[in-house]
């Protein structure tokens, strides 16, 4: 966060010069008028300059992009980074060749990058924004794959009557399995074990 104070003949002028110095637009800053300008008597005596305080707001999306750019630079991979930001989330889409390398086995590299970016961007901030890193629609494909897996395993549990324990997954992936089978007539799901090895279990009702 950068704060500067500026004088100007009018409030407007003081704000403009502050924005110029910060290289920011109006919606990227918070403005506080410290002293109003006054023209004085007949514009001659006792005129007072305006004083404003302009604070450049912290930009989560920009910080995220900076961090990821630095990482890819050191990894020697060329990636186009697109950032979308709202009040609660920063969505980052990566595009380039060899995205498989950045996804990793079952998305573990993508998840690691996402986790590190989230730590860096939210460090010491009052407001937390969720970082969502994706490439080539991987998240959605994985979600569909997990839904299919859940349905297939539910059938197996129903047929054999034996419970099935899945491999360890992160909370996000476990949630997909739970919600897919939430209303299943014959099986129930729960998780067991400790993070990061927590696993989903599917068993007969």
């Amino acid at each position: 966060m950068i704060v500067i104070e500026k004088y100007g003949k009018t409030e407007q002028e003081a704000i403009e010069s502050a924005l110029k110095e910060l290289g920011a637009t109006r919606d990227e800053v918070e403005i506080e008028i410290l002293e109003e300008s006054s023209r004085g008597l007949f514009g001659l005596i006792g005129g007072k300059q305006a004083r404003v305080k302009v604070t450049k707001k912290y930009n989560y999306g920009e910080e995220a992009k900076n961090f990821i750019t630095k990482i890819f630079d050191k990894m020697n991979v060329q990636v186009d980074i697109e950032v979308e930001e709202d009040d609660d989330n920063v969505r980052i889409d990566l595009r380039g060749e060899n995205m498989g390398l950045l996804i990793g086995h079952r998305g573990e590299t993508l998840d690691s990058l996402q986790y590190l970016t989230s730590l860096v961007v939210n460090k010491g901030k009052e407001n937390y924004k969720r970082i969502l890193l994706d490439t080539e629609n991987y998240r959605q494909k994985r979600e569909k794959a997990l839904e299919r897996l859940a349905k297939r395993l539910a059938q197996k549990v129903k047929r054999t009557g034996r419970r099935v324990v899945l491999e360890p997954m992160n909370p996000y992936e476990r949630r997909i399995l739970h919600s897919t089978l939430q209303d299943h007539p014959h099986v129930v799901t729960y998780s067991e074990g400790e993070e990061p090895y927590r696993k989903v279990v599917i068993t007969l009702k």
């Binding site: 050191k74 020697n76 390398l101 690691s112 990058l113 993070e195």
Partner: protein, 75 residues
């Protein structure tokens, strides 16, 4: 590869100027020693080593390109 570890560590800690990285190059593997200020240890290790694990995963991905085994040690 050491540069990559440094960039990540510096972004995570409170005292980036105290981040030190040493690369020990072997024939088939590289050992990267990461040293941070004592107060910053938690920032690069995390609960149950979760942050350290994420750093290692990213470094491992970068290393597959160079076909070398990389070990990241936090000391």
């Amino acid at each position: 590869m050491g540069e990559l570890v440094k960039v990540i560590a510096q972004a995570l800690v409170d005292s980036p100027e105290e981040v030190q990285v040493k690369e020990i190059e072997g024939e088939h593997s590289v050992i990267i020693e990461l040293k941070v200020a004592p107060d910053d240890m938690g920032k690069v290790i995390g609960k149950q080593g979760r942050i350290a694990k994420a750093i290692r995963t990213v470094v491992k991905a970068a290393a597959t390109k160079e076909q070398k085994r990389v070990v990241v040690e936090i000391i």
